[in-house]
């Protein structure tokens, strides 16, 4: 049986471009630029200086504080600079520039056999693991909630159009994912583990089902619908529990971890490999040869695009087309949390020409959080911040369903973001 949350939308999934292409290893460029902040939380502190020699896996940035993550080199070579560059979000942050010596010498952590809870937790911290689904929340923090957890949900929904990285991961490494899951389960002490996969990925469902045979992990088919992979929607679909509007999944005893994160946990524990490669989909009509790539962190997007070739394109997006960031140029680099790079051509991209709201109610009917986006938009335009608060913009998960369906092209998601910001500034 397939499960469903309320509302949401059905965008064309465009996954056929890359769904059947196995992961392919892209060789590293001559220079990599490794950002010291690839996660939510405090940036890591540089631990190397110019001239130092590093190997792939050498710790080059140290977590500062609990909510922060270690950063490792992705190639072997020499540190040639520490410089500020813009990341995909347009923020200037420190990058460690490493000249690749082409030897790919590796420095691994000691592999762990039968790790204890503490071992697993420490390894996630040491290996710099963050949520690979895009949220980039440090995994060692996530698996240490201050509330008891009964259910661990593994997110294999991958509901954003175009992206097939998690899908390929499930086809190619189901056993490893299951092993990674069992470690996370041990740390959390969860009784139940469910892998949620949308029903448009029957092969992934079969592969995972075969891999979990003999364990107490179950695979649950989910209805294909955007945003099925949204944390709150996924939890509702799997457990029928509703995460409180201002709360976190742990408040209802659930933790959600992405499938690729589970794989990275496996690698860190079993092989001692820190998190410095990224499994990503590079797609869109602007890419000549769409592919699923294994890329070393710190590779500029420009090199990725050169590697695959490009056609005319008008927009470059890091992440999915519904929630991803559009970037002004291809200078930013691949970071741990980038599940995809999309180059869209004119036919795929949406031209936005806002016209007056016609009050059709489509946005409200699409919002999975049951908000009324048009009202926030209208009130924010009139600067009525206190009134907009009544429409709960703080609950908006920025999934984009409202703007997707709006025939008047209202900038509804931006309005929600602005309302959140202004409410924070002015009402507190």
């Amino acid at each position: 049986m397939s499960y469903l949350f309320n509302r949401g939308i059905h965008p064309k999934d465009k996954k056929e471009l890359t769904a059947d292409l196995p992961f392919e290893v892209m060789s590293a460029p001559a220079k990599v630029y490794i950002p010291l902040c690839q996660h939510i939380g405090a940036p890591a502190k540089a631990r190397v200086s110019v001239g130092d020699r590093v190997k792939a896996g050498t710790l080059i940035g140290e977590a500062t504080g609990f909510i922060s993550a270690n950063v490792h080199s992705s190639v072997s070579g020499t540190v040639v600079a520490i410089e500020q560059r813009e990341n995909a979000a347009g923020r200037k942050i420190d990058h460690i520039v490493i000249e690749n010596d082409g030897l790919y010498e590796e420095e691994a952590l000691p592999p762990l056999e039968n790790p204890t809870k503490m071992d697993i937790f420490t390894r996630c911290y040491d290996a710099g693991i963050v949520g690979m689904g895009g949220a980039t929340f440090p995994t060692h923090v996530k698996i240490q909630p201050n509330k008891p957890i009964h259910t661990l949900i593994i997110n294999g929904a991958e509901c954003e159009p175009y992206i097939t990285a998690d899908y390929r991961m499930m086809l190619e490494h189901p056993k490893e994912i299951v092993e990674g899951i069992s470690y996370i389960k041990t740390v959390l002490g969860a009784q139940k583990v469910v892998i949620g996969i949308e029903d448009n990925k029957p092969k992934a469902i079969d592969a995972m089902q075969a891999a979990v045979a003999g364990t107490d992990i179950t695979v649950q088919k989910l209805k294909t619908k955007y945003p099925q992979g949204g944390e709150k929607q996924l939890i509702h679909a799997v457990t029928k529990l509703k995460v409180p509007w201002t709360g976190l999944p742990a408040d209802v005893g659930v933790i959600v971890v992405n499938v690729t994160t589970a794989f990275v946990v496996y690698e860190a524990i079993k092989l001692g490999k820190p998190s410095y490669t990224r499994f990503m989909t590079v797609s869109g009509k602007g890419i000549k040869r769409p592919a699923n790539l294994i890329v070393r962190v710190g590779t500029p997007f420009e090199d990725v695009v050169d590697y695959l070739g490009h056609n005319d394109y008008v927009k470059a997006i890091v992440g999915g087309p519904m929630m991803g960031l559009s970037i002004a140029n291809l200078n930013p680099v691949v970071a741990k949390g980038n599940s995809s790079l999309l180059l869209l051509d004119k036919s795929e991209e949406r031209e936005i020409e806002p016209t007056p709201c016609i009050n059709c109610g489509r946005c409200a009917m699409a919002c999975p959080m049951r908000l009324i986006p048009m009202m926030t938009d209208r009130l924010i335009l009139k600067d009525k911040i206190a009134d907009s608060y009544k429409y709960h913009p703080q609950c908006c998960i920025e999934c984009g369903c409202c703007a997707y369906v709006c025939p008047a092209d209202r900038p509804l998601v931006q309005s929600q973001r602005l309302a959140k910001k202004l409410i924070k500034e002015r009402m507190q």
Binding site: N6, P11, P161, K232, H236, K242, V243, P244, W245, T246, G247, Y313, K315, A316, I317, P321, M322, M323, G324, L325, S326, I327, A328, N329, E348, E349, R350, I352, T355, P356, C357, I358, N359, C360, G361, A364, M365, P368, M369, R370, L371, I372, M374, M375, Y391, H392, C395, E398, G400, A403, Y404, V405, C406, P407, A408, D409, P411, V413, Q414, R417
Partner: protein, 333 residues
């Protein structure tokens, strides 16, 4: 290369306001064609004049207020067609012109244009016309009789050779306990009755409804709840009420309003619960006015009255997903 940078989402529906209004226009062609067949070519001219005047009115308003042109969103065309279809097939041509200018300039544009007006422009304009030119607005013709020769019948509106006729609504007025003999349900279903141009043929309206549903233009809950509420009200307000359910639903502009007027985006509530209350209220009021007021019809008045409650209904804000009642905050020290 210059790349576009914008906020997510980066993809979206191909549907635009113009396309939505275009679909509504197409759906309005069903009752327009049916009305033309029933009452001859003159009634088509009435609708055409109403539609053209509405577009012209909006164009002039844009020009006078020096605002960007909004006529190409086609919403004025929709308003004009709806108003035209709400007129008797005998209306002199100044009636659609005055009505459309009133609907667009006063009811729609003065209140901020598309999406902002609080009362349905066509319904309000119809009420205004009824009050100003009651005679013209209640001068209903019987469907033309093609047996006297096709052309003669088809142009009879121009030659003023139509036969005036009472509408089923007039016949129903005052009736209770037993349905008057002049009421023939099959004729009402097919449109072989007197009435406004667009409202007579139930079949055409149902086809329009199906069209709008296929293209997901309207929320089915509005017409369905409205019709259900009208049926219940008929059951309650008339003696032997069950006999009156079908005559109530098929007479006057009830079905037409259910599909094309109640579903107007600007003047219906945003939320499901609001829409249900709105449609149920309109259905109840429609039958109430028909049964107990001095007016013959009640549809337009009921709609406009319920339009006025929309700002109130829109204050019902649904609880977001996962809402929990905020606990009383401990007194701050």
């Amino acid at each position: 290369m210059k790349l576009q940078v914008s906020s997510s989402p980066h993809i979206g529906t191909k549907l635009t306001t113009q396309k939505i209004m275009g679909h509504v226009c197409i759906a309005l062609l069903f009752p327009t064609i049916a009305g033309t067949v029933m009452f001859g070519i003159y009634s088509f001219v009435v609708v055409l004049v109403a539609a053209a005047s509405a577009v012209l009115a909006e164009f002039l308003y844009n020009k006078i207020t020096r605002q960007p042109l909004t006529v190409n969103d086609l919403s004025a065309l929709v308003t004009g067609m709806i108003l035209g279809l709400n007129l008797p097939p005998t209306a002199p041509l100044f009636v659609p012109i005055v009505g459309s200018f009133f609907a667009i300039m006063i009811v729609k544009m003065l209140f901020g244009g598309i999406g902002r007006n609080f009362a349905n422009p066509a319904a309000t304009a119809r009420l205004f016309l009824v009050l100003s030119w009651t005679g013209f607005m209640t001068n209903y013709a019987a469907p033309v009789d093609y047996s006297q020769g096709f052309w003669k019948a088809f142009v009879s509106g121009f030659t003023k050779e139509y036969v005036t006729s009472a509408t089923p609504l007039t016949a129903l007025k005052g009736a209770s306990g037993a349905v008057p003999e002049s009421i023939n349900l099959l004729d009402m279903f097919l449109g072989r009755i007197g009435g406004s141009i667009g409202e007579v043929c139930a079949v055409a309206i149902i086809l329009g409804f199906i069209y709008l549903m296929i293209f997901k233009i309207i929320d089915w809950k509005l017409p369905v709840v409205y019709i259900a509420a009208s049926a219940v009200a008929a059951l309650v307000f008339y003696k032997n009420g069950w006999l009156f359910i079908l005559p109530t639903l098929l007479s006057g502009g009830l079905l037409f309003a259910a599909v094309y007027m109640l579903t107007d985006y600007s003047t219906s509530p945003n939320t499901t619960i609001g829409r249900i209350i709105f449609a149920a209220g309109a259905g109840f009021l429609t039958v109430l006015f028909r049964r107990y007021s001095g007016m013959v019809g009640g549809v337009s008045f009921a709609i406009v009255l319920m339009n006025l409650t929309v700002p109130l209904l829109d204050r019902i804000i649904p609880k977001p997903f996962g809402y929990v009642k905020p606990k009383k905050e401990a007194a701050r020290g």
